[in-house]
Symmetry: C2
Subunit: 257 residues, 2 copies
């Protein structure tokens, strides 16, 4: 079961002040890269897993999607999403991604922004999303990068010799991470990049693209302090595709002789 921290009043108040909460997609530094991994929306049925305030749902309709289902655990977020969404082709539903069941072969695109790292059982979710996609359908999502999430203290550190570094530890120890982010006690679930990819492959996805996000040249020019973001990746962006007929051949694990 995923923690519903977004319905914590102090967390929600602080999160609502973020640029991405006030300005939407264009307020998120990684959005241009994520948008670049999306298929054309025209005529597609889309599901947004962890839709928050519904910014992407409304963008997808504007970009030509036929329908969008936004799913979120937070009643707070869905309430604002509903108020701000006029188009009847967008529906919202409250659900925990750790127990979500979706209709079979009902979507052409599953999208998710910074939500899957709250999910404890990613293998279950990946299978559920795979079943919900039509053959050739796509899954495009972002999560906190495991390098960002792994450390026992997830913050820059200065070494005695003056080097400012990202103090990595525990990368290969998978499991929950309880951090202070806006409020104390926020629970995320650390998985290595390898595990995330293998779970998708085993669920019947072909990996199409893996982006360890970094600021663009334009972003670096307008905000020089963003250069520090080159020292460790904050976001991981993945595009995967529900396999066609050859799925079983490609996904088959060979036996050792």
């Amino acid at each position: 079961m995923a923690q519903n921290i977004y319905d914590d009043p102090a967390f929600f108040a602080a999160y609502s002040q973020f640029r991405r909460s006030r300005e939407g997609l264009d307020g998120a530094a990684e959005w241009p890269a994520l948008r670049g991994m999306l298929p054309a929306m025209g005529g597609h049925d889309v599901v947004d897993l962890g839709c928050g305030f519904g910014w992407f749902c409304r963008w997808a309709i504007g970009a030509g999607a036929r329908s969008v289902l936004g799913v979120d655990l937070s009643a707070n977020m869905l309430e604002r999403a509903r108020v701000e969404t006029a188009d009847p082709a967008v529906r919202y539903a409250q659900a925990d991604l750790d127990s979500l069941e979706l209709p079979e072969a009902a979507f052409d695109l599953a999208y998710s922004s910074l939500a899957f790292h709250y999910v404890a059982d990613f293998a279950r979710l990946a299978r559920s999303v795979r079943r919900a996609l039509r053959p050739g359908g796509q899954l495009v999502f972002s999560i906190e990068h495991p390098i960002y999430m792994a450390p026992s203290r997830s913050d820059w550190a200065t070494l005695p010799d003056g080097r400012k570094v990202w103090p990595l530890d525990s990368y290969l120890r998978e499991g929950p991470r309880t951090t202070h982010w806006l409020v104390p006690g926020v629970v995320k679930h650390h998985r290595t990049l390898g595990t995330t990819l293998n779970v998708l492959i085993e669920a019947g996805f072909a990996i199409r693209r893996v982006e360890e996000w970094k600021p663009s040249a334009e972003q670096l020019a307008s905000l020089p302090e963003a250069a520090q973001e080159l020292d460790r990746p904050m976001f991981l962006l993945i595009a995967a595709q529900a396999e066609f007929g050859t799925a079983r051949v490609l996904a088959q694990r060979p036996r050792v002789r």
Copy 2:
């Protein structure tokens, strides 16, 4: 062009003392994991890219391969490989992986252990290997993990508060890394995990498995100090498969609307 550090006398003397140089595959901690990603060898034509002393070439023949071509840049290593290999089904050739050309559709398996991080142009090599594989053929390889290779100083560090950490920096700055490893001036080429995977996908491979190596429970029990290896991955192991007919559909990058 890859640096030929293995023909440096001081480097070669030191490298020859390593357990993996003296004992072969069983002297390499990551070998059981890499072996677990290999297809059955029976009747296969195999190429080993960066074959070193030929340990894998001889193992593959013993495991049923029909033929093995071992390729390496180092004359020193090939000389010993030839002396220690009796089976005429194993051939050796001296070549730089940065300019290697292989016969088309000639192999069922391309294997490589800890060699590709010396290659400057991985995209060129990936396309070359893809063409050399028969449809459905496999590429299984290990490299130094990019988390291990990225830092400006690639060694454990202790923070003022006592935490022992892996001091990550420059992860998203790809390019050569000159390190002191056995001798000064060893040149490796850092690419992010995402870049390595995207290069393979764009060359026509389907990603089958991505292992960020860690010690097994058995290895941890027999060598408690190996627990530190859980703080950051040292090796990256990848299995990929030359795509069948659906390759173009799966590898196609979608356009943004």
